[in-house]
């Protein structure tokens, strides 16, 4: 829980100090921290429970042991993350998808403008084309 609060704080300050960082970096960074902290906490709690032969209670020894194992695993994950760079990869994925969405929205907007212009220029012709109504002329 504490690492999640710290993570959000770290990334929020990072966002404030570096003006070109976007929400993608914030979400990617916090998500990576949540994944690592979640896995570390789950393993720590479960491992200590098995070791002490029951559910970890709120007594100082077992709790300190859970914190130690959690911190140790988190440091191990941080060492692995030097190679993996999960937060940056998640941020890059979000940026790519966001750029794709922007392009799609731009295309939709362009198509809507085109329809609007065609409708304004020649309403009858536009409706004929839209509903595939054949043009019948009486001579």
């Amino acid at each position: 829980m504490l690492s999640l609060v710290l993570s959000v704080g770290f990334h929020a300050v990072d966002q404030l100090l570096n003006d070109q960082k976007t929400w993608h970096d914030f979400v990617g960074g916090v998500a990576a921290d949540v994944i690592y902290a979640g896995v570390a906490t789950a393993i720590a709690y479960s491992a200590v429970s098995i070791a002490v032969g029951g559910i970890v209670t709120f007594t100082l020894g077992p709790l300190a042991l859970v914190v130690i194992v959690g911190v140790g695993l988190a440091i191990g994950f941080a060492a692995l993350d030097k190679k993996i760079r999960l937060g940056e990869k998640l941020a890059a994925l979000l940026k790519q998808e966001s750029a794709k969405l922007d392009r799609s929205m731009s295309n939709v907007s362009h198509a809507a403008d085109k329809f609007n212009n065609e409708y304004s220029n020649d309403t009858m012709d536009f409706l004929h084309r839209i509903f595939a109504i054949p043009k019948l002329a009486l001579q």
Partner: protein, 191 residues
């Protein structure tokens, strides 16, 4: 505190074995990272571009004995043939080790803050990753810490590594030009 292994289910024994291995790997990672940090600190003259130091890895050496003991205890839960260790000693050692970790982390922070600047290194937050336990990047010249290099820190550090292993020493202008090229490519890709 003695724990009867017959009370553990097959799943718990399996988990105990897996956790034992996970803790062992975590210990190896911490020890490797601490060893790398110590080696880097002794070879500051040979680092032309930057140093990536994880202060928490050095402080976490206090945790290694506790985690190794827990790893062994979990192994004894999985494999009943091994002689059992007393968990009480581990529980008593946990809190002092945690306090030692915190005190050491603060002390190492102060030490690095004095030692590395005396060797000509400057802390570069623009290249360091943003996470509680991640490493700190110290650069040997201010020019290597570009204001916008946080956008492309992976590319910049990899490029520094390539230059270091090739033994080339580009000028400050060349380094700045390369970093700005990475930034321009990044902006073209995403902005």
């Amino acid at each position: 505190m003695a724990v009867d292994n017959s009370e553990l289910s097959g799943l718990q024994k399996g988990l105990a074995f897996i956790y034992s291995l996970v803790l062992l790997v975590a210990n190896l990672l911490i020890a490797n990272e601490a060893w790398s940090a110590l080696k880097l600190l002794q070879q500051t003259e040979q680092r032309f571009f930057y140093m990536d130091i994880m202060p928490f890895a050095l402080a976490a050496l206090w945790l290694v004995p506790v985690m190794l003991m827990l790893s062994y205890i979990l192994l004894t839960r999985a494999l009943s043939v091994l002689p059992q260790l007393n968990v009480d000693k581990l529980l008593k050692a946990a809190l002092p080790c945690l306090l030692l970790l915190l005190v050491s982390r603060v002390a190492i922070g102060f030490y690095l803050g004095d030692y590395l600047p005396s060797k000509g290194f400057i802390y570069c937050d623009k290249l360091s990753r943003t996470a509680a336990f991640s490493g700190q990047i110290w650069v040997s010249k201010q020019a290597y810490c570009h204001d916008e290099s946080y956008l492309v820190n992976t590319e910049v550090l990899e490029w520094f590594d390539e230059q270091q292993s090739a033994g080339t020493m580009p000028s400050n202008d060349e380094v700045t030009a390369q970093i700005e090229l990475f930034i321009a490519e990044y902006k073209q890709r995403y902005q």
